[in-house]
């Protein structure tokens, strides 16, 4: 039999739901606003940004596809981001495992050094990275972006993977070693499947970083066959000329994959971000 709620509990539950509703509205508002704006004229967007569109048509989407090679950029983004995410996750899972399990000199100092690279502003990396990529002849290639994106997400992925492996009981490995498994086999067949949550979390964050990255894509590439989606948005605004309707349509096309990826893997992301945080 259900317990009857007191008046105080009723008020608290109502407040809780109101707060959750507010959070949902805050999270959804930018997305809904961008989608609504993609159906408004430039005049409507600039005159009253919050008003509903006076008519629904897909002219903005048509213009977005005509003005910029957005579909080509989209497919480039998919290729570059997927490969860079795979490399990032694989390499950092191995590094994270070593940092979590092995004992060697200067381990903590090395980990601190790698983690500290997270605080280096991306813009300050621009010039040295440009020079290195140019020197090794990778300018204007997908490989350049793949390598850079895989490296940019390194500190975060390393921290996630280390804490994930730390949360897995060492007895699992000990059992594997007793059964005759070597170091590599233990890692790939025992530990990696146990770290699925962390892998998904690091992967999604690396994917989102790569998918949204703009500056390196601008500087390291020059041809349409290599460039990525964030660059497409620059086609719609220029000095003294603008097409905001098409720009919002392009943003809608650009953000949908990010939202889908996050929506599909949200449980893994949240779980593995808190994994290890309560480890005693």
């Amino acid at each position: 039999m259900k317990k009857q709620l007191t008046a105080k509990e009723g008020v608290l539950i109502t407040l809780k739901y109101l707060f959750m509703l507010l959070c949902v509205l805050v999270a959804l508002f930018p997305i809904v606003w961008v989608i609504m704006s993609s159906f408004k004229t430039n005049k409507e967007i600039l005159s009253n940004g919050l008003a509903l569109p006076t008519q629904f048509n897909f002219n903005g989407y048509r213009d977005a596809l005509q003005i910029s090679p957005i579909l080509q950029f989209f497919s480039n983004s998919v290729v570059i981001t997927v490969i860079s995410t795979f490399i990032n996750v694989l390499a950092l899972a191995m590094a994270g495992y070593v940092f979590a399990r092995c004992r060697f000199r200067l381990k903590n100092a090395l980990f601190l050094l790698l983690s500290a690279s997270m605080v280096i502003p991306t813009t300050s990396l621009l010039h040295p990275v440009y020079l290195v990529i140019n020197k090794i002849g990778l300018t204007d290639t997908k490989t350049a972006l793949i390598l850079v994106y895989a490296a940019l997400s390194m500190p975060l992925s390393l921290m996630i993977m280390r804490s994930t492996f730390q949360a897995i009981p060492p007895s699992l490995e000990e059992a594997a070693y007793v059964d005759g498994a070597g170091f590599c086999r233990t890692f790939f067949q025992i530990m990696l499947p146990c770290a699925k949550g962390g892998l998904a979390s690091a992967g999604v964050l690396a994917f989102l970083n790569g998918w949204n990255e703009f500056t390196f894509a601008l500087v390291l590439t020059s041809s349409t066959s290599v460039r990525t989606l964030p660059l497409a948005l620059g086609y719609f605004t220029s000095s003294f000329s603008f097409n905001y309707t098409a720009m919002f349509a392009a943003i809608t096309i650009a953000v949908i994959p990010s939202i889908l990826v996050f929506a599909i893997f949200q449980e893994q992301i949240v779980n593995s971000l808190i994994a290890g945080s309560v480890k005693g």
Binding site: N42, S47, S68, T141, L218, V219, V226, T237, S239
Partner: protein
Amino acid sequence: MKKRLLALLMAMTLGAGCLTGCGRKPAADGNQASGGDTAAGGEVVINYPTFQIGVNTAAPVVAQLVQEFNEQYKGKYKIVIEEIPGDANYLEKMKVMISGGELPPVVYGGGYKVLDLALAKDLVVDLTDYVNQDADWKANYNEQALAVNSRDGKIYASSSELQLVGYFYNKELYAKAGIDKPAETWDEFFADCDKLLAAGITPLSMDTGDGAWCTQLLMGAMIATSGEEGLKFMETSQPTDYNLKAVTDAAAKIQQAFAKYTTKDAVGGVYENAANNFFSENTAMICNGPWMIGDFSDTTKTDEGFADKIGCAVYPGPFVYYAPLEGFFVTKQDDPKLVEASVEMVKFFTSTHAQQLALETQGMLPASPQVEVTDQAKQKFPLLADFLVMANEVETRSNDFTSNMFPNVTDVISQQMPALATGDITPEQFAQALTDAAAKNQ
């Protein structure tokens, strides 16, 4: 064991395959970061990065010029466009490339002060001999074009476009306020603003963001027409002292205009907000150049028939902004053939034909005194034709306020203009902030 080795080998092959597939394409495809290439048939490929794509008003002109050049020099030279969406992104990329000591063979300076940055790194080819040896090319340089494109007596760039700027006004709103013609003096101008206010109409479109383009045009016109000191200041390239009466007086009037004569979104607003207020008939005047004329009949930005309501005027004084835009320049390359090809490209892009095409297609005013404004252009852009008649009668002319500045001072304008607008700083403090920023270049 063998099975594992095979799996490892296959994984490595797959990884290498992925990266190889994502590698650089052959040079003949034109996919290079900078520079160019001599293709198999001896055709020199010029990679040309440009922001004049997408919604940029010059995009159709550039596309046609590239097509014509590639047809005319087929088998010899070929331009491959590198699209850089957005002028700010273009500038960012050029700055990174300059710092790396490597620029594309041809660079468009525009109003972005790229030439001086490239010259500081000794990356620019001296065009003096090329220009002097070609009478037609040399004839395209008048006194102003030479001044804009030369440093220490050497010609480094070639202009194609003239910046001739006054302001636009809404004739219907003027009539409602009982104003029959644009003001001839600044006293009349502000009296007209009061009449518009009395009729319930906001007089001016202004902005503070992105260099405060519309606002700085108004301010510069006031400085230039304030007297000898002001005009001399406006004719000075990269001034270092803004603590002049002409500047502080103009800043005080701008402060007053922000308080009284403009829209609420002017503080913090950028050009797009100012333009939309004018397009939506929220304001009666906007300072801007002829490139805006096409927007008056764009029904995604304005209502049908809006273009018929618009008139153009020179500033009180009378005064008009008149300056060729810094043009195209050629950069130093290892391959002399590529330099020759690049010089040919610059010559083609700044030829009288190219300037005529830009005029008739987009209403861009030519930098060359040899290019005539044809009847075709006048019919297509009647407002431009009216403005040219007025502008030709004006003797007091100069470059605009921010174009003369050191690049870092333009950034300070964006930071200080909102404070001036809200009264957080005085006109004197505003002038001092600009002076301090300019001093950093010495």
